[in-house]
């Protein structure tokens, strides 16, 4: 038997209703898919952004705030720690590498981060895609999305905590807080990291100190960049990134620098806490989206039962013409399951589009690049909706199956 001509005729008869059903199912599916995919993408992107930050050391305070400032470059005013810690850590045998992060300046809305050559290249992992890394004071290396070009003069200004400047332009606020007489030259550009550092301008920490009138941290005016810093008075820094040699070293260092006026922690600890919250919210949202899908399916199911009821004469005629009951059952079921399946497919596409759109907005806001990927969880959710929809469609199909021809013809 070939019920397809009748299925197509049925769908053609439904037309707008069919389109509405597909749209509703698609929306329900898209919401679920988008929520799941978005949450996972956010998790992955934020974890990736924290990749090179094994251990953070800062002044006692909020760990979350330090993570937000040091890794996600959110403008906040942070207390400083003694700059001599850099030398101490650089000498520590448990430390593979240490770098200061000095923030607080912006140029055209891009954060200017003072650090060392080693961290600018992410411990040597990230060679510049254009030009070279900074080699002396006054040179700057640009993140992938920074709007300056190589050779451009970069004039830093004092940033204000909590103020979110528009990137790429010098706003009034920035112009009024310029560090007069100081400028960097862009000498290189880093490849894309997918993290907020893509928008940052990395400069030698010495220059940042210099710009703020704190000397350069070295005894000599023209000393080589980077540790050891042998200056008489070493300026403070808001954060230190430490790369421990081994896992055991990492824990020992964390324990050591949790006391004596500093705090030390693994950013992963903070992220796990954040993800727990994010996960709870995500769970609430996915339960809501599943409920939403169930409600929509229930409404559609009632609609289809009503439609099948209106069509009972049509199906009775098929039986009167000699169609076996299985044919009628297939016509009803295929039509409904087809609509639900079409809605699920469209929903996957729509969910992907919604996720990409939200990810785009999110990247503009935070610089975190979220990559969309359908996870097993989303596919399972769609599969469940498809399964439930098809099973539900069996009910009106079975009702049409059981009705007597004479009763059906009577209408």
């Amino acid at each position: 038997m070939n019920p397809l001509p009748m299925v197509i005729a049925d769908l053609r008869a439904l037309r707008w209703t069919a389109a509405a059903i597909v749209t509703l199912v698609a929306l329900a599916v898209a919401i679920g898919v988008a929520i799941g995919a978005q949450e996972r993408a956010l998790r992955q992107a934020s974890t990736k952004a924290a990749d090179d930050f094994d251990l953070l050391i800062g002044a006692p305070g909020s760990q979350t705030q330090l993570v937000m400032s040091a890794i996600y470059l959110q403008p906040e005013a942070l207390p400083l720690i003694d700059g001599r810690l850099i030398n101490e850590l650089a000498r520590d045998p448990r430390v593979a590498a240490v770098a200061p992060l000095a923030f607080g300046d912006i140029a055209r809305g891009h954060p200017v981060i003072g650090t060392t050559l080693a961290f600018a290249s992410r411990w040597g992992r990230l060679p510049p895609s254009e030009g070279r890394l900074f080699a002396r004071e006054g040179e700057a290396v640009l993140g992938a999305d920074v709007t300056y070009k190589l050779g451009d003069k970069i004039e830093p200004s004092h940033a204000i905590a909590g103020h979110w400047p528009k990137r790429g332009v010098v706003d009034e606020d920035e112009a009024s807080r310029r560090h007069e007489g100081h400028a960097y030259v862009a000498v290189g550009r880093l490849p894309r990291l997918g993290s907020p550092f893509d928008r940052a301008i990395l400069v030698p920490v010495e220059s940042v100190w210099e710009v703020h009138g704190l000397g350069n941290g070295h005894a000599a005016e023209d000393a080589a960049l980077g540790p050891p810093f042998d200056g008489q008075r070493l300026p403070g820094v808001p954060a230190l990134v430490v790369k421990p040699r081994a896992v055991a070293d990492a824990y020992a260092l964390r324990a050591r620098y949790r006391q004596g006026g500093t705090m030390a922690f693994f950013p992963a600890e903070v992220l796990v806490g954040l993800y727990r919250t994010l996960g709870d919210v995500g769970q609430v949202l996915s339960v809501a989206s599943v409920l939403n899908a169930v409600l929509i399916l229930a409404a559609i199911f009632l609609l289809l039962v009503a439609v099948t009821g209106l069509r009972r004469r049509r199906y009775a005629v098929l039986r009167a013409l000699g169609a076996p009951p299985a044919y009628v059952l297939l016509v009803v079921w295929l039509g409904m399951a087809g609509l639900v399946a079409a809605g699920c497919l469209a929903g996957l596409g729509l969910g992907a589009a919604a996720t990409l759109a939200v990810s785009g907005l999110f990247e503009v806001q935070t610089g975190l690049r979220l990559s969309f990927a359908l996870g097993l969880a989303e596919l399972a959710q769609v599969g469940l909706i498809l399964l439930l929809g098809s099973l539900a469609a069996l009910i009106p199909a079975a009702l049409s199956y059981r009705r007597s021809i004479t009763a059906g013809l009577r209408g």
């Binding site: 001509p5 008869a13 049509r314 039986r319 009167a320 013409l321 004479t406």
Partner: protein, 241 residues
């Protein structure tokens, strides 16, 4: 007209249709049972063209539905030759109906979204997956016999007379040996009714099928070989007046 294309008979020749000891009871609005049909013995000989006359509610439709095996009588049996239709299990009855019966309704009951050709060949989709070229040729020939030329028009845009012609072509598609028609001209205007009525009787006659046709239409009944009255005593066949 190419009558030969209509009278092909792959499904078997007409056989006598025998109603015996039939009783059909329904319940009225108050739940009291009342007898819809009471046919002690009624035989329609093979290939006969029989009209069925009777007032509304007298059980004409029930009799046709019973003959098509849409439902089973409360007592008695219906047989088609040596096949006791009323004793066949559901699936076998469906198959018997598909192979033997063509049904024409008062309200045509075409599928409005399908075109003329698809409506006529619809019964082929009950058993086969693909439409064969033979089936399309047969449907085209039937449509031609019924005076339908444009097979691509959707049923929804046809006139009522055209719709009933398509419905008759559809009923004939499986070369039924038993053609049942329930008031086939009642919802047509007089001109169309006369045309469609005469076509129905002609093609039934050409194909050698037994025709059992319920109607109020004296002109249509007059085309039958015999007419039975229902509702006033036992069914008796009388030569059409």
């Amino acid at each position: 007209m190419p009558a030969s294309t209509v009278s092909e008979r792959p499904a078997g020749a007409a056989r006598p249709l025998h109603f015996s000891g039939i009783q059909v009871d329904h319940r009225d609005g108050d739940g009291r049972p009342f007898r819809v049909l009471d046919i002690p013995d009624f035989v329609v000989s093979a290939g006969a063209l029989i009209g069925l006359r009777g007032p509304s509610g007298s059980g004409k439709t029930s009799l046709l539905h019973l003959a098509a095996g849409f439902f089973l009588p409360d007592a008695g049996s219906i047989s088609w030759g040596d096949v006791v239709v009323s004793a066949l299990p559901g699936a076998a009855r469906d198959r018997w109906r598909r192979e033997t019966v063509g049904f024409v309704f008062q309200d045509f009951h075409l599928v409005p979204e399908l075109d003329v050709l698809a409506n006529i060949t619809l019964p082929a989709s009950f058993s086969g997956w693909r439409q064969t070229s033979d089936q399309v040729a047969r449907a085209t020939a039937l449509a031609g016999r019924m005076g339908l030329t444009d097979l691509r028009r959707r049923a929804a845009v046809l006139s009522r007379g055209e719709q009933q012609r398509v419905a008759i072509a559809r009923a004939l598609f499986n070369a039924p040996a038993l053609l049942l028609a329930d008031e086939p001209t009642a919802s047509l205007d007089p001109a169309h009714a006369a045309e469609v009525g005469s076509l129905l009787v002609e093609v039934a006659h050409e194909s050698g099928a037994t025709l059992l046709c319920a109607s109020h239409d004296p002109a249509l009944l007059a085309r039958m070989q015999q007419v039975a009255s229902i509702g006033d005593g036992p069914l008796q066949l009388k030569v059409a007046a």
